[in-house]
């Protein structure tokens, strides 16, 4: 999917999530729970269900039942939208950037990918990440480890220049040891010359930047 298309989709999802996530007093949504608890989504889902059960048991009028039913429908929509937005954000975070042969400059067309990652990182101060540099199998095996390291360092420098504290980013390199495509073609080589991005820590709830 093209970056701009994905950005547009994410904007839509984020907007949907924001509308649907208006606080419902009787049914706290996951976003409102402390972000430090582990397995928070499962817990909050269970709590929400229990709350709904209690409410259903105490409801003794048709009007109350109808109101409750409507509230649950709203909450379900809000949860789905948030999960989709989160999933899309995770996919976008994993978006790789690519390099010219034997080069480690950030390409202009990849800047938007890094800019979005920078905004996400700045919006979520507990996020940390690892950037892994890779090379195609041309050039020397050993030099490619150094080249992969350069490529990871270049992306890190770009993010740091955008304001991300450098202590939150570690870099490493696999050289040509982990190709995505083992064919000896220009297309395969271009695919293999890449940086991969992996979150090493992230909050239970993500604050999504406006794309």
């Amino acid at each position: 999917m093209h970056t701009s298309t994905r950005l547009a989709l994410l904007a839509l999802l984020a907007a949907t999530a924001a509308c649907g996530a208006k606080p419902q007093p009787e049914q706290p949504l996951p976003q409102q729970l402390p972000p430090t608890q582990p397995a928070i989504n499962a817990d909050s889902a269970r709590q929400a269900q229990e709350a709904a059960e209690r409410q259903r048991r105490t409801a003794d009028s048709l009007a109350a039942a109808a109101r409750d039913s409507a509230a649950r429908a709203n909450a379900a929509t809000a949860n789905a939208a948030t999960a989709a937005a989160r999933a899309e954000a995770e996919r976008m975070f994993a978006d790789q950037i690519h390099f010219d042969y034997d080069k480690f400059d950030i390409r202009p067309e990849d800047q938007a990918i890094l800019d979005w990652k920078a905004r996400l990182l700045l919006a979520n101060s507990s996020m940390t990440l690892r950037i892994s540099g890779h090379a195609d199998d041309r050039g020397s095996d050993e030099y490619n480890l150094a080249l992969g390291n350069r490529r990871a360092a270049a992306a890190k420098r770009y993010l740091v220049n955008k304001g991300v504290p450098e202590g939150r980013i570690v870099i490493d390199s696999y050289g040509e040891e982990r190709p995505l495509d083992t064919a000896a073609t220009d297309a395969a080589w271009a695919r293999n010359r890449r940086d991969e991005f992996v979150l090493t820590a992230s909050p239970a709830t993500w604050s999504l930047p406006t794309p």
């Binding site: 041309r138 020397s140 050993e142 030099y143 150094a146 080249l147 390291n149 350069r150 390199s173 696999y174």
Partner: protein
């Protein structure tokens, strides 16, 4: 035309044989020679391995070693060809008529084996020696036989062969140990790990390598016999690559990759301390160090001119300068230098229209000469005799280790079932 010229050059260079020392730089094939074409049978002295009773496996190993030394034409024989003979009677006339100049006799002896070289032209025994020989089941058996071969080469040519040596190479993520004739290969690191860049310690008993973990890893130093290993001092954090030992074994030099790029470091192995940074690249990477045999200079790869080229410096990091000349904007990236055991040459690979080829740089004459042109050829390593080079080539379809004799241009494949890379050739291995 070029081919004819190169053969003439080769014959001219061989005409002096074997009067002078067999220094590799004397007769490196001239520029743009296609390897494998200049091999000209018949111009080297003939050697025959005399048939005999017993010791067949020893005879076979020695005959192959003499062939692989590329210094002789090995005259083939059939069992019983020379007829019955006494212990000291050799049919000089017969073997001379078959093209042999020397005859090698291997005779069982209570203490092991007697090797004897006959000079057929002079009708005399040129030299003989007595060698202990372990049982064929003992692991050291083959290496012991290879040492006999190297002595026989020395008796005839004045220069020992290099059969009693081994190579470390990488197959998959595993480091393999293999004899110089391709026999006796076994893995020295685990299949569950990813190891790279093996480098021999000068004592031939240990080796260093990169243990690539999750995108980073230490340089490990491992004992070949016991398998015990430790992380090299100063080489456990970040990504540590391309280790090499100083010729006296006291120092390890390697490249460490971090936020500021890749730079060379040295550590004192004797005291297990004292890490010293040798290069400060900032905007360039520095890696793949290799010592001159006198230990006074170090060649390495640096990207300071914009793409990787071969530089040199003193082992303390001073006096950094370009070693191998290149044309800015025209010459391709250069990688993987290895300084020859006699100090006269540095072999490396350089990309030619995007394809890596072997080149050799004559340090005294400051000349670069191309060695290969067929297929991709990379990561060369010198044999202890200073005239053979092992390297990786895909000329057979996949990356395999090949061995090139610089003097004759003869090429052979080191036996290996899988795709292999990053070979490192030991020194001659002492008992």
């Amino acid at each position: 035309m070029r081919r004819a010229l190169s053969i003439l050059t080769l014959i001219a260079s061989l005409a002096h044989w074997p009067s002078g020392p067999l220094a590799a730089q004397d007769s490196v094939p001239p520029e743009a020679v296609r390897v494998g074409i200049t091999y000209t049978p018949g111009v080297r002295p003939g050697v025959v391995m005399l048939p005999g009773n017993g010791l067949d496996s020893v005879r076979a190993i020695v005959a192959r070693d003499l062939d692989y030394s590329d210094r002789f034409e090995v005259v083939p024989t059939t069992p019983g060809q020379a007829g019955p003979r006494g212990p000291r009677t050799v049919n000089y006339q017969l073997w001379r008529s078959l093209g042999a100049d020397y005859a090698v006799d291997l005779i069982p002896d209570p203490s092991g084996i007697v090797a004897r070289v006959h000079d057929l032209g002079g009708a005399t025994v040129r030299q003989e020696g007595r060698f202990p020989l372990p049982a064929p089941s003992v692991p050291e058996f083959r290496l012991t036989v290879h040492r006999i071969s190297d002595e026989i080469v020395r008796w005839i040519t004045g220069q020992p062969g290099s059969a009693a040596s081994r190579l470390l190479t990488v197959e998959g993520g595993r480091i393999l140990l293999v004899d110089s004739d391709g026999a006796g290969r076994y893995a020295v690191t685990s299949a569950a790990e990813r190891a790279l860049s093996p480098a021999w310690a000068p004592d031939g008993k240990r080796f260093a390598y990169t243990l690539l973990g999750e995108g980073r890893g230490p340089v490990m130093i491992q004992d070949l016999l016991t398998g015990q290993r430790t992380a090299a001092p100063g080489a456990s954090a970040d990504l540590n690559i391309t280790p090499t030992f100083s010729p006296d074994g006291s120092t390890l030099v390697w490249a460490r990759s971090g936020e500021d790029g890749t730079d060379l470091y040295a550590a004192d192995l004797a005291r297990n301390c004292c890490v010293q940074r040798l290069t400060v690249g900032r905007y360039s990477d520095n890696l793949s160090p290799t010592f001159a045999p006198d230990g006074r200079r170090l060649a390495f790869v640096s990207t300071r001119p914009g793409l990787p080229q071969v530089y040199a410096m003193a082992p303390d990091g001073t006096g950094q300068e370009l070693l191998v000349p290149f044309d800015f904007g025209a010459t391709g990236p250069s990688h993987a230098p290895d300084w020859s055991p006699d100090g006269t040459n540095v072999v490396f690979h350089r990309e030619l229209r995007g394809v890596p080829q072997l080149f050799v740089y004559d340090v005294a004459a400051r000349r670069v000469r191309q060695l290969t042109s067929a297929g991709r050829n990379e990561d060369p390593t010198w044999a202890p005799d200073g005239r053979h080079i092992a390297f990786v080539s895909d000329r057979s379809g996949r990356r395999q280790i090949w061995i090139l004799d610089l003097e004759s241009g003869r090429l052979r494949q080191l036996l290996s079932p899988g795709a292999a890379r990053l070979p490192a050739w030991s020194r001659r291995l002492a008992p």
